[in-house]
Amino acid sequence: MTRRELVRWLGALGLAPLAACAEDGPADSGTPLADWSVDVDVGTAEATLEALMDVLVPAERGPDGALLRVGAVECGALAVMALDRFVPLARAQGLLPDALPGELEEAATALDPVLVRLIAAELDAWADEHVPYTPFRDLPRASQEEVVARAYVDAGRRPIVAFVRGVCLLAFLGAVESDAGLVATGYPPFESFPDRRAVSGYPRTVDGVVEDYTWNEAPAPTPGDDLGDVLDPSGDLY
């Protein structure tokens, strides 16, 4: 993958601000990515991105730090962001247009670490504006939220947080890596997440009590609403 290709793909992902950032490198836009690096190592970049994810869809912790409710990070948001799985999922959910270059999915593996490092570098630049020389992940939570809030009202930065927000919600509510977010939202846990077996609604027994999806009771008739000339006996409209 070359820098030129990277810029094109970032633009297709709706991450034009990052595309501009990627163009700030060496003059030869055809430079292979392998010969070009963002000044953040992958491990640090992932920690930075997880800090952003925990601001967008946060976990809830007690005073002792014990986890009270999972957030996007605990639901595997970083793994969900792996582009070879995120792109088709996000496309199906309307987060990405269908007209992405077909090669993106093939090149996703190569693009993943670069994208993470680009976003992390961008976040650190925003953090630097807020508290000089302090990376985003080291900012106090209130400052991190302020950085994100500012990004939301900045047309040049909003696409980046919107992209990560989409990743977070997909992880939290989409049961891609874990059903913990759905459980936190009030849904029953999967019977077996590794087998992708969600809970059946057909009469099931919970703690010895039948829990059913039906009401098994006809609603009371509506006085004066005669459907005789509207609905045929088989349930179709005439």
């Binding site: 070879d84 077909g102 088989s234 179709d236 409209l237």
Partner: protein, 561 residues
């Protein structure tokens, strides 16, 4: 270049019926039929270790039902696609129309909720410009035998409220009971729907990647019949070029089955397009230049300055809203359980030509579609085009759709969320066109006053239902964003009695192009006001009968002689 007698493009409700009926008619004749589907074959996703679904090799849930919930990209990412316009007509940067369409072997049946209502007579009898929109042969009575045939194939049955009337698995859900109670409180009535399922285990989740034995997608009936009759089903093969080639048609595209792109070139005598309203129309638009002279594809546009191809696209009057019900109805709601659609109210059909259906919208769907609205206890600005769906905080600024407060809202409101939508007769205001790069784009340039009136009335009634349930309507994509959302696109290459009024004749055969058929939602000339899958399949059955038997046109065998 491979030669086939018949090629069918697509595998949804029109294409699958045509493939099955043509395949059966040609069985034993030595004639060859190929079906090309651009998306994947999702049938294996039922269970990767046991695609045939044999007991014993399949993971069962606690109730002994075969079930798999999956967000695996190979499944969900492969069976749906969205069409939209990048520059919306009403708001810069907001689409005016978004269309969710099925993809993969089975087409729309991979995404539908199984609702199988026959189209009412009033929809066939619509008059516009002094003329009946539908060809005269299409009436409810004329299609009833074909509806019955499709209902048998898809195992359609009517649900019930109690298990005194039907087996327990055929009952409407708690969500439907709450919806019915809301209807009753405002003087309307909800009734159980007709659904295409068979021993559905009622896990819910239909809209989130579930595959199970109950839901009747087309792979288990029409496409299975086609395969049994010798039709070659080729998924992962996208057709991008069609052109007349003397008495034949050249069909070219890309085969992605091997994991890399391989071009294919076929030729056939009879070509059936069934790639859906947007897919088939887009394919015709992309190749319009190959049809010249007497074979021009759109006489209305060529001679009469009234183009038909890409025009008259209906959203089937789809208008969905989301809101909350009061705490008292929260527990009964259990929105995630059971069939995603199981009841509807026809009470407004007589006077206003719309029905209202309650359905389950999964939390991810709501979150990605500006669930932020639900942050506000009251959001009067959510109604009226040009308003915003973003809830406003005490300072008048939009509330955050991220952070701890947002997650609190998601968790607090989950049991109270009820989504409902109307299906109405619209005026086919939509359009399909090609973008600069040849990509298919759709748009909704304006809303006709008659459509606006129906939607306004439907919105009023849906809001009354929420309020009757001590809740409120909060999320309204059309009024808030200026975006029409539909999963039921119809038209784009409509059929008509006169070649100046449509792209295909009442048999689905393209005017001026013998043996080129379009048989899917693209040829339906109007909104139906009910979910369209059953009608698309019934129209295909009717066309297939006439083609096979040569009623009012040369027979299939005569065409292939």
């Amino acid at each position: 270049m491979a030669r086939w007698d018949v090629i069918v493009v697509g595998s949804g409700f029109g294409a699958a019926v045509m493939a099955a009926r043509i395949g059966q008619a040609l069985q034993g004749t030595g004639k060859t039929v190929l079906l090309l589907e651009k998306g994947p074959d999702p049938t294996g996703a039922l269970d990767l270790d046991n695609p045939a679904g044999e007991p014993g090799g399949l993971p069962l849930n606690a109730q002994g039902n075969r079930f798999r919930h999956t967000y695996e990209p190979g499944y969900l990412g492969g069976v749906g696609e969205l069409f939209t316009d990048p520059d919306g007509a009403f708001r810069p940067g907001r689409p005016s129309l978004t269309i969710a369409a099925g993809r993969g072997l089975g087409g729309g049946s991979n995404l539908y909720c199984g609702v199988s209502l026959r189209c009412p007579s009033a929809s066939f009898d619509q008059i516009r410009g002094g003329r009946r929109l539908w060809p005269v042969r299409y009436t409810r009575a004329a299609l009833d035998p074909y509806y019955a045939r499709v209902e048998a194939a898809l195992r359609v049955h009517r649900l019930a409220w109690t298990d005194r009337e039907a087996p327990h698995w055929q009952l409407a859900t708690r969500r439907d009971w709450a919806f019915a109670e809301g209807c009753r409180r405002i003087g309307a009535t909800a009734v159980p729907l007709k659904l295409a399922d068979d021993a559905d285990a009622n896990e819910g989740w239909w809209t989130e990647g579930q595959r199970f034995a109950g839901r009747q997608d087309l792979t288990g009936n029409y496409l299975a019949d086609a395969a049994a009759a010798g039709v070659v089903l080729a998924s992962g093969c996208e057709v991008d070029a069609i052109a007349p080639d003397g008495p034949d048609y050249a069909v070219s595209g890309t085969d992605r089955r091997s994991g890399s792109d391989v071009r294919f070139d076929h030729v056939c005598r009879l070509l059936v397009l069934g790639a859906g309203a947007v897919g088939s129309t887009g394919l015709l638009l992309r190749n319009q230049g190959a049809f010249q002279g007497e074979r021009v594809l759109d006489l209305g546009g060529d001679a009469g300055d009234a183009p038909n191809l890409g025009r008259h696209l209906s959203a089937n009057g789809d208008y969905g809203v989301t809101g909350l019900v009061g705490e008292a109805f929260a527990r009964p709601l259990h929105g995630e359980r059971g069939k995603p659609m199981a009841s509807f109210s026809p009470s407004w059909w007589r006077d206003h030509r719309f029905i209202v259906i309650a359905f389950h919208a999964p939390p991810l769907f709501l979150a990605l579609n500006r669930f932020t609205t639900l942050l506000s206890p009251r959001n009067p600005a959510a109604v009226g085009r040009g308003s915003t769906t973003a809830a406003l905080g005490p300072d008048g600024r939009p509330q955050r759709d991220w952070g701890a407060g947002y997650v609190d809202t998601l968790t607090r409101f989950s049991e109270r969320v009820l989504t409902m939508g109307c299906l109405a007769l619209d005026a086919c205001e939509g359009e399909v066109s090609l973008g600069p790069a040849g990509t298919v784009s759709v748009a909704w340039p304006r809303t006709a006053s008659e459509t606006e009136a129906r939607w306004s009335e439907a919105l009023t009634q849906m809001r009354r239902i929420y309020e009757a349930l001590d809740g409120e309507l909060l999320l309204d994509g059309y009024r808030g964003e200026g975006t029409v959302h539909t999963a039921h696109p119809l038209g784009g290459a409509r059929m008509a009695e006169d070649p100046l009024d449509g792209v295909v004749d009442p048999n689905g055969e393209a005017w001026g192009n013998p043996n080129l058929f379009v048989v899917d939602g693209a040829i339906l000339p109007s909104a139906l006001g009910v979910n369209p899958s059953l009608t698309i399949a019934a129209v295909a059955e009717a066309i297939a009968d006439r083609l096979v038997d040569g009623i009012g046109m040369p027979s299939l065998l005569a065409r292939l002689a």
